[in-house]
């Protein structure tokens, strides 16, 4: 059934990084990303230090390099974008390997690439060490509106159910000799999507009934102890605070 979807991002473990409360890690990653973005792009060494800090975090969490690297494919569209900027950019030109490139755009590309990569790695580490539902509960703890958290929770729970339903509909189509090959087949796919939407919507209503039947009154009961000690906050804060110090030096 839905097996195999889960844990694509999460890597179970019991390291100190895994054990930190989700809200601490969320805030730490967020703060780290802001510091990285605020760092002047000319400070190459600062970005190098940030990368070293992330490597240290990954080592502490026992997340291997290959695990992170494979999940970084999500960044490819940004990389492509960054590669194209210098070619189409305007202004002063420099020649690199026989290509005439815009100097200003080269800086912009580097800026995007370096900062996005650091941000993506930090997020991958967060996801690798925190169960998805704990990330959501952490976000709730950080005052993300409970309704949004609930919606995301249901997405997490029903993703596989809906994927299964989609697969069954595809099998049903193909069993009757249909295979989407060209644009003329789009209406069929669109109708399937519509049917899937209606089925999911009806399921939503049934789930709501099931929730009401067990005393749901608008908010999810919080059954997990999500409290974090000052020490845990400090541990999680080590990453963004060190980054802040590095940024401070780069501004001097």
């Amino acid at each position: 059934m839905g097996a195999g979807h889960r844990h694509q991002l999460y890597r179970p473990g019991t390291t100190p990084v895994h054990r930190l409360p989700a809200q601490c890690k969320l805030l730490a990653v967020f703060a780290f990303a802001i510091v990285v973005v605020a760092t002047p792009r000319e400070a190459f060494w600062a970005f190098g230090l940030y990368a070293v800090m992330l490597a240290a975090t990954a080592a502490a969490a026992r997340v291997p390099f290959s695990f992170v690297a494979r999940r970084m494919v999500i960044e490819i569209p940004f990389v492509l974008f960054a590669v194209f900027i210098p070619i189409i950019g305007l202004g002063e030109r420099v020649t690199v390997l026989g290509l005439s490139l815009s100097a200003e755009a080269l800086w912009a590309a580097w800026n995007i690439l370096a900062k996005a990569t650091l941000g993506v790695i930090a997020s991958i580490l967060l996801a690798a060490t925190t169960e998805p539902r704990m990330i959501l509960l952490g976000a709730q703890r950080l005052r993300l509106p409970s309704l949004l958290v609930q919606i995301a929770m249901f997405m997490l729970r029903y993703m596989d159910v809906i994927m299964d339903e989609m697969r069954r509909m595809r099998v049903a189509r193909e069993s009757r000799g249909f295979e989407a090959r060209n644009l003329r087949h789009i209406p069929v796919i669109a109708r399937s999507a519509g049917a899937l939407f209606i089925r999911s919507y009806e399921r939503g209503e049934r789930v709501h009934l099931a929730m009401l039947s067990r005393g749901y009154s608008g908010s999810m009961p919080i059954v997990h102890d999500m409290s974090a000690s000052a020490r845990q906050w400090l541990t999680a804060g080590a990453l963004p605070l060190t980054a802040l110090a590095v940024m401070g030096m780069s501004l001097l």
Binding site: M1, L156, R206, L212
Partner: protein, 250 residues
Amino acid sequence: MKSLEVSQLAYAYPDGTQALFGVDLSIGRGERVALLGPNGAGKTTLVMHLNGILTPGHGTVHVAGVPVVRDRLKEVRQRVGLVFQDPDDQLFMPTVRDDVAFGPANMGVRGEELERVVKEALDRVGMLEAIDRPPHHLSFGQRRRVAVATVLAMEPEILVLDEPSSNLDPAARRELAEILRSLEVTVLMVTHDLPYALELCERSLILSGGVIAADGPTRELLADDGLLAAHRLELPYGFAIPAPPAGGRG
């Protein structure tokens, strides 16, 4: 006091379709009763009245003496444990533990007491070892058993099961029957699986055309071919009602 008392219950859907035309039934504490009826007889509509999801157009419903009315819904929903047909509708939390905890937590149970209630409910359906697993990784039969645990955790007065045997393979069906038989709780089982009703319930009601058309010992109702045929019910091919077991409950 009766676990469930329904009197003169009538209901029409907002589009005007009348589904129930004055249903009367009462179920004593500790009874296991099957509610039989063909598709479209109003079984699900009746079930939705038992915990106040639908409000009667006419008539009343009492659960353990508590009237099902808007101001008392919280009490009523604690007392009526509804197990839906599709366990994917019932199990909406990311893990089995969270799901079983949902009901009692809504009732204000917290901490160690909550953990105890959750474990006990899972133990009663033999699913304790699945406590940390996500529901979608369980087999269909296991999911249905967890669904039963989610309502047992609320310590209900009456367990209402909607088509409990549907989509179960024979082994899962037998396991569920054993679990249901072991529970010391009033059960109302909505089904058109007649052998299952015979196996588990001494008494049956036939809901047909929005009224209770028959009420009596399951064995007698199922032996009456004319009655079954009149209400679009049929025993499976080759099924003969076995002789009653000596001295036990049916």
